[in-house]
């Protein structure tokens, strides 16, 4: 095995809220309450479980870590001799939105430390960044380095909605080892999804799609990727895109929802796409990028619109999660036959029979939309699938 460099970032307080029933750990208030309730951070322990599987390769792996609890401590305790990168100098504590933890020496760590570490590792050209945390940590990493750098999550947070985590810490270690050894593991984009924690604590589930990270992929060790596909998902997406483009009417403009499947449609036409936003396109040009509800409604004044949409997140929400720009008002003005729902067949199978959901915030509309819908799953391939109101 040739020499490899691996970055490790531990979010020391990830998951602190979970064991004491606090549904997340994103705010200072929650962290303080969690500590009062006797919560112990688990991210380090989880990272150690993953690192153990990498230990046999330790002679060939140079480990890069942020100081102390953000990586150094666990790396040393597992028997690695890591190179410690500097982060503190780059963090302006007073400007940080909130502290996310307290290191051994009483140092507070913040989301900016995570972001800064990720950026430093990307610049250093490591082969892979392993991080131990939850959806919030995944979001920070995505913010820092975008969707074109190999990253893998060790599940340690309360919220594990994103598809960037291995199923267990050990399988994260296993997958990282295989990837670093070049054992036929390939990279693919996976969703970074996060809940709105304030709403979650009030008992509402409001997820947002924040972006995509590029993760090493072997189907059985990634959460929410339970289904193998005979052809790669990229090939299937191209089939879906070809079908959609064949159906697009020249006199219509189309609202193109967020997601990698919808992006393939834009790519095949040769247009740019806002990955987590909504664009308006025709069969040959981009009319408006990253629009909000008002712009969509303004567009509707000028020409009829169609809608190309894919379910977001792991739960199968068609409307109301991550695409709120496509509001009830907008949906009501698009004719049924001009709504094209697209989705990989493997994502439908991963719902394990659960119906697709719609939660537009408009009870009446949700019930109008509910029923059996046609989902485009490939070129000239459809699945008839049940859609119900999720509200």
């Amino acid at each position: 095995m040739e020499h490899k460099r691996l970055g490790l970032i531990v979010n020391p307080i990830a998951g602190i809220g979970g064991r004491v029933g606090l549904k997340g750990s994103d705010s200072l208030d929650i962290q303080q309450r969690a500590r009062m309730l006797g919560a112990v951070p688990l991210a380090g322990e989880r990272a150690a479980s993953a690192l153990e599987l990498l230990l046999p390769l330790s002679e060939n792996i140079k480990l890069l870590v942020p100081p102390k609890e953000m990586g150094e401590t666990v790396a040393r305790s597992c028997g690695f001799n890591p190179q410690v990168i500097q982060t503190s100098g780059l963090t302006n504590k007073s400007l940080a939105p909130f502290p996310i933890g307290r290191g051994e020496g009483g140092d507070e760590t913040t989301p900016e430390d995570t972001r800064c570490s990720a950026r430093t590792m990307q610049e250093a050209g490591v082969d892979l960044i392993l991080f131990s945390g939850g959806d919030g940590t995944a979001r920070d990493i995505y913010t820092a380095i975008g969707n074109n750098f190999p990253v893998l999550g060790i599940p340690a947070g309360v919220k594990i909605q994103s598809a960037v985590f291995a199923t267990t810490p050990r399988s994260a270690g296993e997958l990282a080892a295989e990837f670093l050894q070049g054992k036929g593991v390939r990279l693919q984009e996976a969703e970074v999804v996060d809940l709105d924690e304030d709403a979650y604590r009030l008992g509402q589930i409001v997820t947002r799609l924040y972006g995509y990270l590029k993760i090493p992929y072997r189907r059985e060790v990634i959460q929410n990727q339970k289904i193998p596909s005979p052809a790669s998902s990229a090939v299937q997406m191209q089939g879906i895109a070809t079908d959609v483009i064949e159906q697009m009417k020249p006199d219509l403009a189309y609202i193109l929802g967020p997601g990698t499947t919808t992006r393939t449609v834009a790519e095949q036409i040769g247009l740019p796409k806002t990955l987590v936003g909504v664009d308006i396109i025709t069969h040959n040009e981009l009319l408006a990028a990253d629009v909000g509800e008002r712009q969509i409604l303004e567009m509707l004044e000028h020409r009829p619109l169609g809608l190309i949409i894919t379910p977001t997140g792991g739960q199968g929400f068609l409307f109301g999660r991550g695409n709120q720009q496509i509001s009830p008002d907008v949906i009501r003005r698009v004719r049924d036959e001009n709504i094209l729902v697209i989705c990989l067949a493997s994502k439908i199978a991963a719902l394990l029979g659960r119906p697709l959901l719609v939660d537009t915030g408009d009870y009446e509309l949700d019930h109008l939309l509910a029923g059996y819908i046609k989902v485009i799953t490939g070129y000239h391939e459809r699945i008839i699938y049940r859609l119900i109101s999720g509200s």
């Binding site: 193998p228 052809a231 067949a345 059996y372 046609k374 000239h380 699945i383 008839i384």
Partner: protein, 520 residues
């Protein structure tokens, strides 16, 4: 004399490993298996040089790049790699669900190998091939009785070819009514054989797939949402690959007929319903059998399979040519059928398998066929009971109900509790000299395993298979590493499936392998 020690259960198996190279690597320039004698002078004078008689465009300019080997080296090579294989006659082959891996009686092979069949030429005069034509005609009659259809074609080379032929007939039917363009959608279900969707795609149709309802039955409401004036056909398997019989099947065909569609029955899973229920009574217009599944002939990988396409009266004109006819005195092939979809295979069809299935059905009779179905169902439900006693296995859907001839099980609980996946068990099973199959893609049943015991296996066989699955379950809970690192006693490898998506990383011919690896 010392008594022989009793053998432990499960048996201790170890496969031969020969580390055998690819045959092309064994080639030695100049070696020959057969030395052909030179043409005698008087023969050459009489007929000339045969090579010169070939048209230029048919003559090779470069000799074929075949391996150069002696006979004994060829024989040794294939004997060795056959020992690194696992065949239907070697293991308890109940693990390849949906494929109906029943025993193919060897006497039927002897019939198929007799020179009376092997020495026939397809262009012989009909008067000299009355025997095989009679067999074809009579087999068609039996299949008509078994299914209730009005005619059959034995032309298709296998199940997928039969489905494709049925789709072509269905298309010709719609075209004859001026609805060919309008009807461009076919409907199938996710637990029907994917060959239905695949063949329809090849024929240019849009494919709509129905997902099951919460009980695992094909969803009638979804069907109602799917049918329209664009519906060309319903292509459905019943019982589906879950082993669940669709009790509303007659309603399915009625709804599709009302929309003007044609209903085509994939009878690949017919082994549990022979003599019990028929395609005609369920309202189907077309059906097909796999002779290599239900009627015991060897499967495709061990020689050609064979399919049989059945039609009701209104589709008879569209049958592929030739059909086998009898004018009261002699049998003949009829090519003069103006509305036919044409040829789908040269000459007679797979005659060796037509003869084998004919012999198989004749040896059983009508009552025997029903007994086949009853024992296949009995075996399956015995197996279901025993498998469900194994820790970590479940049989999703239709809770508390019995199944027809196969079951799609799930190891989901075992996976959650031990981290061991069905695809890993699939490899571990080979360490016991056995085999099992997961499921078609996508995996709608999580961590799937599909078993179909057929009528051929004894209770002791089923118990032995169950003992192996049980052993592996125990290993998963106590020593999962032994499964994760399998195989230990077998020559299969842990395959990396990722490169399958990338044509640069695989080759199906030696020439492509050399090109893609840059090897000379």
């Amino acid at each position: 004399m010392k008594p022989i020690n009793p053998k432990p259960s499960p048996r201790r198996y170890h496969q031969a490993s020969w580390d055998e190279p690819v045959i092309f690597e064994l080639s030695q320039p100049g070696q020959r298996g057969v030395l052909l004698p030179p043409v005698e002078t008087e023969i050459e004078q009489e007929v000339g040089n045969p090579a010169q008689m070939l048209p230029d465009q048919l003559r090779r300019t470069v000799p074929p790049a075949l391996p150069e080997m002696s006979q004994v080296h060829v024989l040794r090579h294939y004997d060795r790699i056959s020992q690194e294989n696992l065949g239907v006659d070697l293991n308890i082959d109940i693990g390849q669900g949906t494929c109906t891996m029943k025993y193919s009686p060897k006497i039927n092979d002897q019939l198929a190998h007799t020179h009376k069949l092997t020495e026939l030429h397809p262009l012989q005069d009909f008067s000299t091939v009355q025997g095989i034509l009679e067999v074809m005609y009579r087999l068609e009659g039996m299949l008509k009785e078994i299914s209730g259809m009005d005619r059959f074609s034995l032309q298709p080379g296998a199940g997928g070819a039969a489905i494709y032929a049925n789709i072509c007939m269905m298309r010709a039917h719609h075209a004859s009514r001026g609805e060919g363009k309008q009807r461009d959608e076919v409907i199938t279900t996710i637990f029907s054989h994917p060959s239905n969707a695949a063949a329809a795609k090849v024929a240019g149709y849009k494919v709509i797939t129905l997902y099951p309802d919460s009980e695992g039955y094909p969803d009638l409401e979804a069907l109602k949402a799917a049918v329209s004036e664009r519906t060309a056909s319903l292509l459905i398997t019943n019982p589906e690959d879950t082993g669940i019989f669709n009790p509303k099947i007659a309603e399915f065909t009625r709804i599709v007929h009302e929309a003007g569609g044609i209903c085509s029955y994939d009878q690949a899973n017919a082994n549990g319903i022979l003599g019990i229920t028929r395609a005609r009574e369920a309202g189907f217009d077309l059906c097909h059998f796999n002779l290599h599944k239900t009627f015991s002939t060897p499967h495709g990988c061990g020689g050609p399979g064979a399919g049989a396409s059945g039609v009701t009266e209104k589709l008879i004109p569209f049958l592929p040519v030739p059909t086998t006819e009898f004018d009261g005195q002699k049998y003949y092939l009829d090519y003069n059928r103006p509305k036919s979809i044409g040829k789908i295979r040269p000459f007679y069809g797979v005659t060796a398998n037509i003869l084998r299935s004919y012999a198989w059905i004749m040896s059983l009779g009508a009552d025997g066929l029903r007994e086949v179905a009853e024992i296949a169902v009995l075996n399956n439900n015995y197996l279901l009971k025993k498998v469900l006693e194994i820790r970590g296995v479940s049989a999703p859907y239709a809770k508390g109900k019995r199944r027809v001839e196969q079951v799609r099980y799930s190891w989901e609980q075992l996976t959650q509790e031990t981290g061991v996946h069905s695809e890993e068990i699939e490899i571990r099973v080979t360490d016991f000299g056995m085999h099992y199959w997961t499921s078609h893609h996508p995996f709608v049943v999580p961590e799937p395993m599909t078993l179909e015991p057929t009528e051929s296996y004894s209770k002791a066989d089923l118990d032995e298979y169950v003992a192996v699955l049980n052993q592996i379950s125990v290993e998963a809970y106590t020593n999962p590493e032994i499964i994760k690192t399998a195989p230990h006693n077998c020559t299969v490898h842990q395959t990396q499936q990722e490169p399958f998506d990338n044509p640069d990383e695989w080759a199906v011919t030696w020439r492509a392998y050399r090109r893609k690896t840059g090897k000379k």
